[in-house]
Amino acid sequence: MRKALLAASAAVLLAAGPAAAQQKTIKIGFVSTFSGPTAVIGNDMRNSFELALDHMGRKMGGIPVEVIYEDDGQKPDVGKQKTEKLIESDKVDFIAGYIWSNVLLASLKPIVDSKTFLVIANAGPSQIAGELCSPTVFSTSWNNDQTPQAMGLYMNQKGVKSVFLIGPNYAAGKDMLAGVATTFKGQVVGQELTTWPSQLDFSAELAKAKASGAEAVFVFYPGAAGVQFLNQYAAAGLKGTIPLYTAFTIDELSLPLQKDNAIGVPGAQEWVNDLPNDQNKKFVADYRKKYTGLRPTYYGAQAYDAAQLINSAVVATKGKLDDKDTVQKAMEKADFKSIRGDFKFGNNHVPIQNFYLQDVVKDADGQLSLKTVATIVKANQDQHHDKCPMK
């Protein structure tokens, strides 16, 4: 045990040893979840980020790129510690990643204080779009309520008169349900927030939704919870009787588990695998070639764009990353071909982008896949950008 200890501490010392930053390489830290039940999401983000680097020849502006992946274990304090390691020990030029709002919010201060450039590839808490926006912080995802707002608009188009909302009781969950309510013109007849992440059985909530007499149900359950929700929705006999509308509940990770229960359930998303631009075709095709048996998700798409955004800034500044203002200006231009199509930044560095309606269909291989049905809203900007002091 003592030997193991010594060896372990030696390993830490070595790993953290001489690593003075030279501008011979571009150093990028990538924080995501690589252990525990949600590691699939982190893996998909890493796969896509790696693919983006492959597409760039693993160089940005002719300078070799080194990426250090860190696992936040879905815990805010661990995420913060890893972020500090990246800044203080590895002295990275850029940090990217972050799936979870709470991990991101915990990690934000050391990033902003050290003026390290951050590209958020998923989490979208409203504070970041609003009062906590920062010159060095960018997002290639969205603000939490944008996607459900799009869904609300779609439900208006479908002429839905009343809806019952169900989601997990944490900040993003509440943002999502509030988001639908801002754009949906009909009546919200009920709302249920379930204990997160421990509650796995939604029978009580489903029974209430049924009894409420609502015309439709809107739900937000990311990851495995989305699988459970759809399974139970079908088992309770609600599928086919009450139409279900979703945000972030069906993706390429959950679909193989949701199977037929997901067919015909619409969702809103800013990226879908069949978007017809060339960049996206290449991304999806190469992803499926490189990672056999896997399909990219919107998490991965956002990570891919994060790599492209960083690349565009490095190329524009010719690798002179010390001049923060120039790098910031270069990043604000978003001078790259996003795989989601049109993409530009608002004043708060959150994308202004389209949201699409996606549906589940059987593709040519007979497998379930997501398909773009329509564009729900074009060039959508989040509603918090006024609160951001940056102009």
């Binding site: 421990s198 796995l200 699988v227 459970q228 399974n231 139970q232 309770a236």
Partner: protein, 305 residues
Amino acid sequence: MTLFIEQCLNGLQFGLLLFLLAAGLTLVFGIMDLVNLAHGSLYMIGAYFAATFAAWTGSFVLGAILALLATLLVGMVVEVVVMRRIYGRDHLDHVLATFGLILFFDEAVRLIWGPAGLSLSLPPWLSAPVQILPGVNYSAYRLAVIVVTLAVAGFLYVLVMRTRIGMLIRAGASNREMVGALGVNIKLLYTLVFGLGAALAGLAGLMQAPILTVQIGMGENIVILAFVITVIGGIGSIRGALVAALLVGFIDTLGRAFFPDILRMLLSKEAAATLAPALSSMLIYLLMAVVLVVKPEGLFSAGNK
């Protein structure tokens, strides 16, 4: 009224399922005096086995039976390799050792089955809802779960109250040394009891598999609930576990179902909206605290501990 009936059935189903987990836990607890945090890992393994075997054999029922046997086997191996060596140790050693087991099982599952999780589809005859009363439809699968768990509870009752093994189990729960003194092969009894507990956990896991996702760490939250039930019921008492499991199942389900509405009548809408989820999450912990403050050894304490 239909809503109330449905919620009661939901509570019953959830409670009975928790009973399966708690029964194994309380047996192991009562007889071997072992705090087994890794009980949830056996639940997870049962679910993984079921999903795998059902895919292999193409039959849900066959897969479930195979999974049950496999989990029983894993349980007995764990008992022989690890647990046997830590009986009689301090409870804290149990916590440390079984926590180590959780980490091991989680990662082992990730290595074998990958991080993505599995799913288990229901056969068509279980997936459609059935009409139980005029105008009341209920999930056929949840009904089946209720029937199976009731049957298992009955089997446990007969096993514990009417058989020789059961007599030894009861004797062991109230006085361990005595059973050893009687010349019973205590090692074998322990292995069997642990295996039985594992199989019960595995059964709970495989029955949850079609309505939940089969994923890593799925046992960790539910095992805490099982501990809560074990303690409310009184350690070592199967009857206590049943009563407490139903209590927790009903309070949790009905609490989630009706508590927010009750709060909304008493408080402003905003206050109720923020309070209700937090309060209904802690209802069962509140129940446990109240029970233990009033009855420090649970509702039906089995022995002389």
